[in-house]
């Protein structure tokens, strides 16, 4: 068990199955292996899962809650629940979607619970950043973040999951708890609105 687990954990952060933003994303088999190791009570599996999933969970939570603080709390809560439910995770068929679904659920709860922040503007929330220290890109990131702040959270979720977690519309539907066509239409409406906002700001 230990040897298998070590192999899975090592591969967990090495496996690069898709190019682009999903670099470092383990394959479905590796996800299942990580969940199996966690179900067996291996604490190292938590660390490996953090390495492969925390960034996505944090991003999704940030786009939903509009607060860096809350996004951090969401990541903490997700891993806490993961540890508490560790015996049941071995039965999960699609661990990646399941984890993002849990993160979405927790983020919605956190956003609902902190209603006092709802009235605060999201203009300064860094939804996006430039990949490297590039002045022009940094301005683009700032501008894109300001545009994203004007979208409803459900549309932001769909755009995030499609663009940055590379989910299919079916997976987005599973994660956010809506039918596939609703997920697709939220994405389309979000992109359409961003386009109009971009035109208006010119």
């Amino acid at each position: 068990m230990a040897a298998v687990s070590d192999d899975i954990l090592r591969k967990g952060s090495e496996g690069r199955d898709r190019p682009g933003d999903n670099a470092g994303e383990p394959s479905p088999e590796r996800w299942r292996g990580l969940f199996a190791a966690l179900a067996a009570g291996d604490p190292e599996a938590l660390e490996a899962l953090y390495r492969v999933a925390a960034r996505r969970i944090f991003g999704l939570a940030l786009w939903r809650t509009g607060s860096v603080e809350d996004a951090g709390d969401v990541v903490q809560e997700v891993f806490l629940r993961l540890a508490q439910k560790h015996r049941r995770v071995a039965r999960v068929r699609d661990p990646r979607s399941w984890l993002l679904g849990l993160a979405h659920h927790v983020a919605v709860d956190v956003a609902r619970g902190r209603t006092r922040r709802a009235a605060e503007p999201l203009d300064d929330v860094p939804f996006l950043r430039a990949p490297e220290e590039d002045g022009a890109r940094a301005i683009d990131a700032q501008r894109a973040s300001a545009l994203l702040a004007e979208l409803p959270p459900a549309q932001r979720d769909a755009i995030y999951l499609r663009h940055f977690a590379e989910c299919t519309f079916a997976a987005i539907g599973d994660i956010t708890g809506v039918p596939t066509f609703t997920a697709a239409s939220r994405y389309r409406l979000g992109i359409e609105r961003l386009r109009r906002l971009l035109e208006d700001k010119r």
Binding site: D21, G41, P43, L46, E47, Y50, A54, R55, F58, G59, L62, W63, V68, A71, G72, V75, Q76, F79, L80, L82, A83, Q84, H86, R87, P126, F127, L128, R129, A130, P131, R137, D140, A141, A144, I159, Y160, H163, F164, I191, E192, L194, R195, L198, E199
Partner: protein
């Protein structure tokens, strides 16, 4: 229009969501490890005792049993009152049972000494053409 949508997608593809803060990993993993150790230390009975779904299931089962008990008790009480038919009517109503229970007479013309078929009035019943029971009662009293 399509070009504009492509521009939006291009803009998104050039940028990345921010990373979680460095200190978050330590905080998250410490909490998760503690929860994992706590969870692993609990035996099956503690887990069953503390399981919320099981408690809910237990509560629902008890409620259903109580409701069924009350409903069935009410149903039984409702049936018991007026619906009990007299034994005689049951016997008369079921011809097959009566035929089994009543022995056929050896002599076709013979009449029983007592009962309805005897031609004599049944005990307590007024004889044909006799005085009504009320009058007889008075006679007995005198």
């Amino acid at each position: 229009m399509r070009d504009d949508a492509d521009k939006v997608e291009e803009l998104l593809s050039m940028l990345r969501p921010p990373e979680p803060a460095g200190g978050l990993e330590t905080r998250v993993l410490r909490g998760a490890r503690e929860a994992l150790a706590r969870e692993a230390g609990r035996d099956i009975w503690t887990r069953i005792w503390e399981s919320r779904p099981l408690r809910v299931a237990w509560g629902i089962s008890v409620s259903v049993l109580v409701i069924c008990n009350v409903a069935l008790g009410g149903l039984r009480a409702g049936r018991r009152g007026p619906a009990m038919p007299p034994a005689g009517s049951t016997r008369e109503g079921n011809g097959e049972l009566t035929a089994i229970a009543v022995q056929p007479p050896l002599d076709e013309d013979a009449r029983p000494l007592i009962g309805r078929a005897s031609g004599l009035p049944a005990s307590g019943a007024p004889p044909a053409g006799g005085a009504p029971a009320k009058t007889r009662g008075k006679e007995n009293a005198s």
